[in-house]
């Protein structure tokens, strides 16, 4: 063996068996001859080698790892040959050696059959336990000896295993789905091995769960990201989606400044911008119970479509993973439901083993967040009131009256009354979530039963959302067949606070003392009754109604049964069928008792007095079923060609109907039941609405990959829907994508930088059909309130459009996924183009057709943007070392309305005309109009450009479209001032793991978005100081005297003269940064005490949400319901 040969040989060993370490020994030059004399009891290998080196001129090349230095032999060599020495040393060690030149090379002995048989009997038993990162035992994990297929074991329900190795050179491999496989080296004499598996980020990157099938990520061209339920839980304690917004910038939860942290308000979500111009139906419109937000993504829970509400109410502990299908290529398999993206949620599967019980408790302290409110205190308010002339008059008698009022109020202030009304309807709430899960079974038959109860009281007193859920899952797997049945029952009751809108507390004046009994004492804070007993002036006590039996409750019970069967026909061909059935019963109730403040002005002398009290009851029943049948074929042709083919069809039907009845005249406030009503509400009749929609689709998916280097995806879906026009029943949806795994190319490999470098590009045509079910039809409605003599007439409701189609969204993207430096750095970057055409809109018709408009596919919206996600592993977390990763992401989306219908333009004009009339005739302030214009964003803020307040007159100066300036507010001259949506937004964070500890810090940011600061409008500028408290800025920053360079116009008492039309002055930059979550967890699983208690695992965690927020805009957040911060304590125990 020459020098270069030797090097190669060494190198190869180095590369292939990293456990081999080479010891190179020099033989002393002083001695010669090839014989060794050495005698020593219990000589170590080291001793012997040293002697060989000393006494001969031979080097010894030896894989020390295979020869335990601990082994001792009795050396008794007397002028022994090297052969004799080596034979003796290697005795019983399955090793042989060769001598070349002056080198002894030790290598594994070729095994004889006898040796192999012997191996089997000569075995060392190793016991151990496999746990996850948090120390939870992992049952069903596979444990085997590397290179010895016969030696394998599976962990039991406690995660324990027994395995035999033939010697300590054996390497134990531990693997489990979803976790990184670990190789464990044994130490000489070791008998127990505890293995902790890390949740495999790679696994999540390995497989894409589309909800219809599982696809290999490496050769998949769609854009998707997968997160584990556990990671998401660490980011938010309120609901699973909150954390998603931090991890993936394509998923945006739109701020809801009205509803704040109301537990009963559903979030508004967009994936990569909004595709429609359709508006949400307002609250109270029956239609809103069917067609919520047309921009919502599709939610798939364990393969079946579900509602956003159901996801929000879902027990977080049950969630295994959540996958976002973001682009057309990934989502196209969902056909006409795909354009808004898809959120695929998979719940946990039961683990085989002994019955195991897992109990999770989460206890969250929800603390109202009032940091954005800056209301005046009693003395400053009174001072401001006096300054504005509230207590003076030019009429003498009146002046005296007002002065009396002032003195009265001053007296209250002097006596120390300074009520903090904001906190009155609020409390620090304690959320409790319990989740108990039992699972077990053997490899063939597994089951799990889960119970969950969540009590989520909101920060406003009396508001809550309580959910009870149970599920039963059976899993039967014969190897060839797999059956799974999941039965879920959920009951949720949402109660709105009887305290009403939070706004009324922001408005309440601090110099009024809070009436006794927390406000129950009197409906008035102030009341002036004339000598005739007439109530002339009064201020309502907002707390009063809360002490009555005011109710606003909605609840639903949902039963879902999902069944799936899989047949593994051959190794390559599988069939899968699913059938799901769901039933949902929902009802809502709203009750205002007769004493409610809304009836204060109905006097006993009035006819309507007996009609006080109002109850409205709504009832919704929905049933639905869904079925799929798919065949999946995958095969490797030769070494390099991999094929994947999936085909099948699905059907879905949902039927729901809602009815609403309103009754009035409830004598007893306690009796909030229809049976106690005096009559149905005046001029009202029972309302009802139904919705039947059906969907049937055919799917074909094809994937080809060459050597895992080059790959292509094709998919085609033909969806038929009852919502389309009679001539356009079937929508063809398709996608095509190409990808290149550059990291598999030699020249990239040689760079030794990229562990992954993947380039994908795809184009897809997706569609959405989130619209009213019957609008394609010509329908008649019975005019039951217009009897014609004795007949009912049926009247055409609108012109149907039998050519009505789905909205088409053409999506294109290019994406680059990179892993650098052994995946220490990973970067995902993507650019996308989304163009939605055939937008469903009203199209103006020649009115001589008999109809002013009808629904047609006109209009176009574009969403272009990019997303970059970066993940850095600062410390990889080798044994006994901390693991630290930081991550950050950025997302940008630009929305543009390309084309709108003429009807939409007319709608704009109507809105602007109405605004002008509100301003001029009703003399009220206006908010930016909700109009759409071509070329601007859907979320553009329209207002009149303003030059600010004229220091000379205190009046605002506007700039009109023609460039002239003036003081008059003109609705028609409003232009786009800014966009509400952020230009860029995203999340960032860091995770830390060390021994049993884990910690997460995460935040989000938003930049380039604007907001119309309505606080400035209603609490500073157009203040109603007679009735409401105001913001501090009204006290300090308003114009008073000529020459004042003020931000806000002067106060005036002439009714409505301080009204302010939507102005660019109030459009402010809304950049913010929030610290969304800090979570700290600790798992105990090796603790003696815990073992003695038969606890397999115990984990505690504490987290804080919405900790801090830094913003460029001072605006009241959560006007009708305040925002909240949370501190959560979690415990998780498995027996």
């Amino acid at each position: 063996m020459n020098e270069t040969d030797k090097r190669k040989w060494i190198m190869r060993i180095n590369l292939t068996t990293i456990f081999l370490i080479f010891t190179l020994m020099q033989v002393s030059a002083a001695s010669f001859g090839q014989r060794v004399t050495f005698k020593k009891q219990n000589a170590t290998l080291e001793n012997i080698i040293r002697e060989i080196r000393k006494q001969t001129n031979y080097d010894v090349l030896i894989p020390t790892a295979r020869i335990s230095t601990a082994v001792k032999i009795n050396a008794d060599f007397n002028n022994a040959t090297l052969d004799e020495v080596m034979t003796k040393v290697l005795e019983g060690r399955n090793l042989s050696y060769t001598m070349e030149a002056n080198m002894i090379i030790v290598k594994p002995k070729e095994k004889s059959v006898v040796d192999k048989v012997m191996d089997y009997f000569v075995a060392i038993e190793i016991k151990g336990k496999v746990t996850d990162e948090d120390g939870n035992p992992i049952p069903g994990a596979s444990v085997r000896v590397k290179g010895a297929a016969t030696r394998a074991a599976v962990t039991n329900s406690n995660g324990e295993f027994k395995i035999t190795v033939k010697d300590y050179q054996d390497i134990i491999l531990v693997s489990y789905v979803g976790y990184n496989t670990r190789e464990v080296k044994l130490k000489e004499g070791q008998t127990t091995v505890n293995v902790r598996l890390e949740m495999s980020e790679n696994k999540m990157k390995d497989v894409v769960i589309t909800g219809i099938s599982e696809r290999k990520k490496e050769i998949y061209t769609g854009s998707s990201t997968t997160f584990s339920g556990k990671d998401l839980m660490k980011l938010s304690s309120s609901n699973i989606l909150q954390g998603l917004g931090l991890l993936d910038p394509s998923f945006r939860i739109i701020d809801n400044n009205l509803a704040g942290s109301d537990p009963n308000a559903m979030p508004n979500i967009e994936i990569r911008g909004s595709n429609t111009l359709a508006e949400n139906y307002p609250q109270g419109d029956l239609r809103s119970s069917f067609y919520g937000n047309p921009n919502l993504p599709l939610f798939i829970l364990d393969g079946f479509e579900t509602s956003l509400e159901r996801i929000i109410d879902l027990d977080m502990n049950r969630i295994e993973s959540l996958t976002l299908l973001k682009d057309g290529s990934a989502a196209a398999i969902y056909g006409t439901r795909s354009a808004n993206g898809v959120v695929v949620i998979v719940t946990k599967s039961p683990a085989a083993g002994k019955l195991r019980a897992t109990y999770a408790l989460s206890s969250n302290l929800v603390i109202p967040d009032l940091r954005d409110y800056r209301m005046l205190d009693a003395s400053r308010l009174l001072e401001l009131e006096q300054k504005t002339g509230l207590y003076s008059s030019t009429v003498m008698g009146e002046h005296i009256n007002r002065q009396d009022l002032y003195n009265d109020r001053l007296g209250m202030v002097k006596s120390g009354v300074n009520s903090y009304w904001l906190s009155q309807p609020l409390k620090t709430a304690l959320e409790q979530r319990h989740s108990l899960n039992l699972d077990g079974g053997d490899q063939t038959f597994k089951y799990s039963i889960g119970f969950g109860a969540a009590g989520n009281p909101g920060v406003m007193k009396g508001s809550s959302r309580n959910t009870y859920q149970g599920n039963m899952l059976f899993h039967y797997n014969t190897g060839k067949f797999l059956f799974r049945n999941d039965l879920q029952i959920t009951n949720t009751k949402g109660t709105n606070s009887p305290y009403g809108s939070f706004e009324s507390y922001a408005n309440a004046k601090p110099y009024f003392a809070i009436p006794a009994n927390n406000g129950a004492e009197s409906p008035f804070l102030y009341e002036n009754v004339s000598s005739a007993g007439q109530r002339t002036a009064y201020v309502i006590n907002p707390l009063y109604d809360a002490h009555l039996n005011t109710q606003s409750v909605s609840q639903y019970t949902e039963i879902v049964n999902n069944f799936s069967a899989e047949w593994n026909a051959t190794g390559n061909l599988r069939f899968r069928a699913t059938a799901g059935f769901s039933k949902r019963m929902a009802d809502g109730k709203q009750f205002f008792p007769a004493d409610h403040s809304r009836y204060l002005n109905v006097l006993p002398s009035m006819a309507d007095y007996s009609l006080r009290g109002d109850l409205s009851v709504s009832n919704t029943k929905s049933t639905g079923y869904e079925g799929t049948l798919y065949a999946i074929y995958s095969k490797m042709l030769g070494q390099k060609h991999s094929l994947y083919f999936q085909s099948g069809f699905n059907i879905k039907e949902s039927v729901s109907n809602v009815s609403l009845v309103e009754a009035q005249g409830f004598p007893n406030p306690k009796l909030a039941d229809l049976a106690f009503a005096k009559q149905y509400a005046k001029n009202a009749r029972p309302e009802g609405l139904d919705n039947t929609s059906r969907l049937a689709g055919l799917l074909a998916v094809f994937n080809y990959a060459y050597d895992s280097k080059y790959f292509a995806d094709l998919s085609f879906k033909l969806d038929g829907s009852s919502q389309f026009g009679a001539n356009e029943k079937f929508a063809p949806i398709w996608s095509a994508g190409l990808g290149w795994n550059a990291h598999r190319e030699e020249f990239i490999k040689n760079l030794d930088v990229f562990s992954m470098l993947r380039l994908t590009s795809a184009i897809a045509e997706t569609a959405s059909q989130n619209f009213a079910p019957y609008q394609a039809m010509t329908k008649y409605i019975y005019q039951t309130d217009k009897i014609y003599d004795a007949d009912f007439g049926s009247v055409i409701l609108g012109l149907g459009n039998s050519n009505l189609k789905w909205q088409t969204t053409r999506q294109k993207k290019v994406a680059l996924d990179m892993g650098l430096f052994k995946s220490r750095v990973s970067i995902n970057a993507e650019y996308y183009w989304k163009n939605t055409s055939n937008l469903l809109q009203n199209v103006t018709l020649a009115p001589s057709t008999g109809f002013s408009s009808f629904m047609d596919n006109i209009g176009e919206v574009r969403n272009n943007g990019y997303e970059i996600r970066v993940n850095l592993v600062l410390m990889p977390g080798a044994k006994e070392q901390p693991r630290v990763t930081v991550w950050g992401n950025i997302g940008a989306n630009e929305n543009k309305i390309v084309k709108i219908s003429d009807a939409m333009k007319q709608r704009n004009k109507t809105i602007l005309d109405a605004m002008q009339s509100v301003y001029d005739i009703d003399r009220l302030s206006t908010m930016p109009p909700n109009i759409f214009t071509e070329g601007s964003s859907r979320s553009a803020i329209y207002a009149l450009p303003s030059l600010g307040i004229d220091p000379a007159t205190g009046r605002e100066i506007f700039v009109y479209r023609d460039g002239t300036i003036g003081n008059d507010w003109r609705a028609a001259d409003q232009v786009v001032i800014a966009d509400e949506r952020a230009r860029i937004s995203g999340g960032f964070g860091a995770t830390f793991n060390y021994k049993g500890w884990d910690a997460v810090v995460a935040g989000s940011y938003s930049r380039g978005g604007y907001a119309y600061n309505f606080t400035l409008r209603s609490k500073v500028e157009d203040i109603d100081i007679r009735n409401n408290n105001v913001d501090e800025r009204a006290y300090y920053d308003k114009w008073a005297n000529p020459g004042d360079e003020a931000k806000y116009s002067a106060h005036s008492f002439v009714n409505g003269s301080t009204r302010v039309g939507s102005t660019s002055r109030f459009v402010q930059k809304n950049n913010y940064l929030t610290i969304s979550a800090i979570t700290l967890g600790y798992s105990l699983n090796q603790n003696e005490l815990i073992k003695r208690l038969k606890i397999q695992n115990l984990r505690f965690s504490v987290s804080m949400n919405e900790l801090a927020r830094f913003s460029t805009i001072a605006i009241e957040r959560g006007t009708q319901y305040p925002f909240a911060q949370r501190i959560s304590f979690g415990a998780n125990v498995t027996f």
């Binding site: 061909l573 139904d690 049937a696 019975y782 309130d785 049926s794 020649a846 001589s848 008999g850």
Partner: protein, 469 residues
């Protein structure tokens, strides 16, 4: 591989089958509304659709308000706009002077146009489907429904012509509006006055044949006077002939209606307390359940907060008694209970019964008369070749209304003009009378000289833009 082929073949086959079955399955039936195909599945459905068309006519944008008590009566100067409520003044001052381009007036015109054509669309939907479903009908019902539909289409088109085109006398050959005979989103091309009139007459002639067995005045079934019945068709023809200036035909047709004696003038001195629109005299009227409540709202006080509340549609007392009813105390149309002081104002009680206990049986409220037998007498009188013949027709109406008979010296045309004002007060037909004659002045109107274009409502903008006019 073999298995795979078989399976995929099977699946494709299955898919193909599913697709065809699918189309049917995807056709869903709403529950709170009715699909057109479902409605036209029975005789009853057609009948209900026809009723729906009449209901649509009672909308405020049509005969429920604007084409009767609303703008048409304002334009005929039935009201004293300047003395009405401030809100009314804001809107009606432009109507009164035919200032059609005003924002206060224009939307109303657009609504009238849309609502009228909407009724036509509903009728066309019936006509497009009825022939294929003829077998569903029993007895004469097919002829009745189809005849009504054709006649109603003619009626609405004729009223549209009277509003949006100049008087027939002008006959400028220009195209003013479409005669729409099909249902759908495609606009119909415009026609000139002559073509429209001919189309109207064609539909009416066809209807007349279909309605030959019309059980008007019969005791069974619904009130035929509330539908386009045979005499409404004939009456409308008489109206059109006169509008065209074809006096002999007008006379002959009006005479036909009068002589049929199915619908008669009421006897002088009859108790009109419970039937203030003289329903027995209606050739065609509409029924609007809430009409009285609406009219009460418009004719009485608006905005209770105002210092001196005045009605929206208000006529000062001197104008009603002097200018319109000529202080003739025997005229039943001017006497109690047709005119009453209500909330301090003299209020016409043609549509109001609030003075009668609501439990009183036999109150004929809710009727909106569109054509009465008296008009036939006026047409006959106007078309009569000589004064004697004219008086033969005019005097019975006067006598029925409690007025003295006219002598041979009377100016027939002036008397007819006065009668139109009295008879059709707040009914809208008065305006059409002036329009037909292209009258140079509308009595009591603040517009001293009527220009011919004032008689023509402008074509709605949307019609120009989206109909490609």
């Amino acid at each position: 591989m073999n298995l795979f082929k078989k399976v995929s073949l099977l699946m494709m086959l299955g898919s193909g089958l599913t697709l065809t079955a699918c189309n049917k399955w995807l056709d869903v039936q709403p529950k709170t509304e009715l699909k057109q195909e479902e409605l036209f599945y029975s005789e009853r459905g057609f009948y209900e659709a026809m009723t729906g068309a009449y209901v649509t006519m009672t909308d405020n944008a049509a005969y429920g308000r604007e084409l009767t008590i609303g703008v048409l009566s304002v334009m005929a100067s039935d009201y004293s706009v300047t003395s009405s409520s401030p809100q009314a003044v804001e809107f009606l001052k432009y109507v009164e002077v035919f200032d059609y381009e005003r924002n206060q007036f224009k939307p109303i015109i657009n609504q009238i146009w849309l609502n009228q054509y909407n009724t036509i669309a509903q009728v066309n939907a019936i006509l497009e489907n009825i022939d294929a479903k003829k077998h569903l009908f029993k007895g004469d019902n097919y002829s009745l429904v189809k005849g009504e539909a054709l006649a109603l289409r003619a009626y609405i088109h004729f009223d549209l012509l009277r509003l949006f085109a100049p008087a027939y006398a002008v006959k400028d050959g220009l195209k003013y509006m479409p005669y729409v005979t099909r249902y759908g989103e495609k606009p119909t091309s415009f026609s000139d006055i002559e073509t429209i009139v001919n189309a109207v007459l064609k539909d009416l002639n066809e209807a007349e044949v279909l309605l030959k067995n019309d059980p008007v005045g019969g005791l069974v079934g619904s009130d035929r006077q509330l539908r386009m019945n045979l005499y409404a068709v004939k009456g409308l023809k008489a109206r059109i002939y006169l509008y065209k200036g074809d006096k002999p035909l007008a006379l002959a047709t009006a005479k036909e209606v009068i002589d049929a004696k199915k619908i008669r003038l009421m006897v002088s001195g009859a108790n009109i307390n419970l039937d203030r629109t003289f329903h027995a005299e209606h050739l065609f009227s509409l029924f609007k359940e809430k009409h009285e409540a609406d009219v009460l709202y418009w004719l009485t006080v608006q905005g209770s907060g105002a210092a001196n509340p005045t009605p929206y549609y208000y006529t000062i007392e001197s104008k009603i008694s002097g200018n319109i009813f000529e202080n003739q105390p025997t005229d039943v149309r001017f006497k109690m209970p047709m005119m009453m002081m209500y909330l301090g104002n003299l209020t016409p009680h043609k549509y109001l019964y609030q003075d009668v206990p609501s439990s009183t049986p036999g109150i004929r409220r809710s009727y909106i008369p569109l054509m009465r037998i008296s008009e036939m007498y006026y047409i006959a009188a106007e078309a009569a070749p000589d004064v004697t013949t004219a008086l033969l027709y005019l005097n019975p109406v006067l006598s029925s209304r409690g007025l003295p008979a006219l002598g041979a010296t009377a100016n027939i045309q002036t008397e007819i003009r006065k009668e139109y004002r009295k008879e059709f007060f707040t009914e809208g037909q008065t305006f059409f009378y002036y329009k037909r004659l292209n009258a140079a002045h509308i009595d009591d109107s603040p517009v001293t000289v009527m220009k011919p274009e004032m008689y023509v409502l402008p074509l709605p903008e949307d019609e120009k833009i989206f109909g490609g006019r």
